[in-house]
């Protein structure tokens, strides 16, 4: 439980940091997908997005083995031991359905944050990077 809260907190911090840090993606159209984008893509697109996250996490863990550099990837890899890709898609769908006012929350935050606790994560709708 504490671990989940910690992950949620870190994810929230990352969302806040990304909202203000202006990383490389700003100029390269790789902005964070949020609920608006999520609702516009097909099931195949959603699966592709989740697989992209998972494949990078997998690779990252392999590359940083033993050095504990990839904390987010590690959390996601652990998370996938308990959830399937289909379950993740359904949970993200449900989150945006149940929280129409939070479409600005990044999909990756929803995926990693185990759903409805955005306030604990510290990321408010509209403050995340579009």
């Amino acid at each position: 439980m504490m671990r989940a809260a910690a992950i949620l907190f870190v994810v929230g911090l990352m969302a806040g940091a990304l909202a203000t840090a202006a990383p490389a993606v700003d100029t390269n159209q790789a902005f964070l997908w949020n609920g608006v984008h999520w609702q516009q893509v097909t099931m195949e697109g959603k699966a592709g997005y989740i697989f992209g996250i998972g494949n990078l996490a997998d690779y990252e863990i392999a590359a940083s083995k033993g050095r504990k550099l990839a904390c987010i990837s590690g959390a996601f890899v652990d998370d996938l031991k308990a959830r399937t890709v289909m379950q993740i898609i359904q949970e993200v769908d449900r989150y945006y359905q149940d929280n129409p006012g939070k479409l600005g929350t990044p999909v990756i935050e929803v995926v990693l944050g185990q759903l409805p606790k955005p306030s604990a994560a510290g990321a408010q709708p509209g403050t995340t990077k579009k």
Binding site: G52, Y59, L69, C71, V85
Partner: protein, 124 residues
């Protein structure tokens, strides 16, 4: 063409729905050229976006000097390329290297980064 890409993803999703095993533990589910060549552009964009968004998060989490190398490599890569360019390059790679279809898409995208951390990053 769309059907083929969709079919691939559907099969993969079903496998995960049924399998319930960790993506990380299933090296076989690292997308490679075999899956990539049959994907629609929409799915390729979504896949690269997923990688990019995760890399951004991971990179931000690492902070200055501590970022995980793969994520940092991808973020750096995107400083000079658009999503469309990344997709075009991956397409080109598999087209010109039909014998390397088993090379993970992530590895193709991150050629520069994998030079920084080659041993563990290679597909088993």
């Amino acid at each position: 063409m769309k059907f083929r890409g969709s079919a691939w993803v559907s099969v993969l999703v079903m496998l995960f729905a049924l399998g319930t095993s960790a993506l990380a533990a299933e090296k076989g589910f690292l997308w490679d050229g075999t899956q990539w060549k049959d994907m629609t552009m929409d799915i390729k964009v979504a896949y690269v976006k997923g990688i990019g968004n995760m890399a951004d998060f991971e990179n931000a989490a690492g902070g200055a000097g501590r970022a995980a190398c793969i994520s940092k490599g991808f973020v750096d890569e995107l400083k000079t390329k658009t999503i469309a360019q990344v997709i075009t390059e991956v397409d080109k790679f598999y087209k010109e290297n039909p014998a390397k279809l088993d090379l993970p898409v992530v590895a193709v995208i991150l050629q520069r980064c994998t030079k920084l951390c080659p041993p563990a990053a290679e597909k088993k």
